[in-house]
Amino acid sequence: MTVKVEVVEGGVPHTKIMVAGIVASLVCLYLSYLNVLTNTEMFSFFGGLAVVSALIWGSHTIKVLCSYGIGTGVPSAGMISFGSGVIAMLLATKFGIVAPIAALIIGVVVGVILGYLSNEVLNMKIPAMIQSLTELAVVGAFTLMGFAVLMTGGFTFTSLTTGSITILGVALPSFQVTFIGGSLIATAFLLGALAVQHPFNACLGPGWTQDRMLMCAAECGFLSMFVAAIMSFALVPAGSAIISTIIGLIGWAYTYCKYMGLSKRDAASWLDAKPIPEVEGH
């Protein structure tokens, strides 16, 4: 027997967040194609925005899944999300321009099978299991693809594996200074996996409110985007990386202030403690 510990009361329904997450991520990933059309890498920051929208959706999916007592801790959901997502995303990059849609489809196929295995073979019997694991695989794939776009400016297999290094003014092709060859994908993997599981892990409990958790997810997303943007200095021109860094920083500062405000709203009472004063005569 399964007991649902918490129910979503009020707030935005999950379906709406899911649809908004899919559409926003896909649109942002495709807007980065402006890089190819304009032959620059100025629009790489759209990858970061795709990361943020996918993470907001993913954190709410984790809330739906982990509201049932799955007994394994919230972080495990983030790990399986990116474990299955990285597999879907890397195959999807082979499909060229349709890569984001391919990531969606491959993620759904992988997620449904993993969901079936855990729900039926492992006898979890949780109603939301199959749908949640499916969504999480797509979230993982979209987030990693967004990081790839942010760091390299493209989402095709060639742009993730082929770069160039300049030695004495001569540009040489290099497979090492790339998203995959330089193992930046491993950093992106954990940046995303931590950001998708943290919001619900931090906000769960009887005082859970939807807007606070989603704001925390956006804050984690922008913080990850900022870190990834700094790493992108190695792969994209400095101008593009600076744009991504500034957008990430502004987004993080804004969402952090909003999140602090919401936390104070939801707290029973709070004291704006000052540093311990220096007392004379001791």
Partner: protein
Amino acid sequence: MTAVAAKPAAGSALNPTAMVVGVVLLLIIIGACWQLAPGLAFMALIGIIVGGVLVGFGVHFVPVGGAPAAMGQAPGIATGVAMLAAGGGLAGLFGGAWAASQEGLVVSVVTGGVGGGLMMAITCMMVNFIYVYGMGIPAASGKIKVDPITGDTQTEYKSQGTEGHGLPFVSFVGGVIGGILGGAGGTIIYIMLLNLYKATLPTMMKATEAQILPIAISAAGIFAIGIFLVNAVLTAYNITGTIEGFHDPKFKRWPRAVVASAAASALCGFVAILIVTM
């Protein structure tokens, strides 16, 4: 019903229909791989399935305590299955990956196993230090009366109202076995994919083997981590919560995890192989 009463739902019963579906799925994927890419890629898929099953089976040995263990109310290491498996298995995977650059398959897999086992042994020992000298609690199992390895009695040391506490010797041994199996499994997945990528990427990307080596290593590594984590979390779903080691009644659930791990590894490995064969 309150959150405290809401126990994890998974029972210990087998679902025969689902098990058959899982096995059929496994055979379909193996057959598809045989049709699409016999030879090296097919061997890689078999290796990935073996590695995934080792990971899934090995995680059952690891004494996972979770939040109750942090409060001294259940035996085991005070964190979740996924975290422990990632710690032990990835430590082994790194050791094995290091050995893979200079040695053959057997030495690398053994190195991976030793790395994972060593990581779990250190973790278990430090956990017991903290339990005994930090929290002041003795090690006692709640599931058995006598330690099957040392023969020490357990019940006298178990506090009332708890499921046992600390890390008994049998759990320590289980943790080391789990680390060995997980590290070896992760290393097999990595080496199989690395050999496949080293053989196929040069023609696909029109470059020499030395040039594509960073791509092959990085892609094989990230796939190995991905497949490892999928297997670890699926096994965590099988255990649901805490397990003491191989003497725990929950250990008997392993057939389900083996079928699920085999099917999941086959699926993920097939996708990883499609990248170079498509």
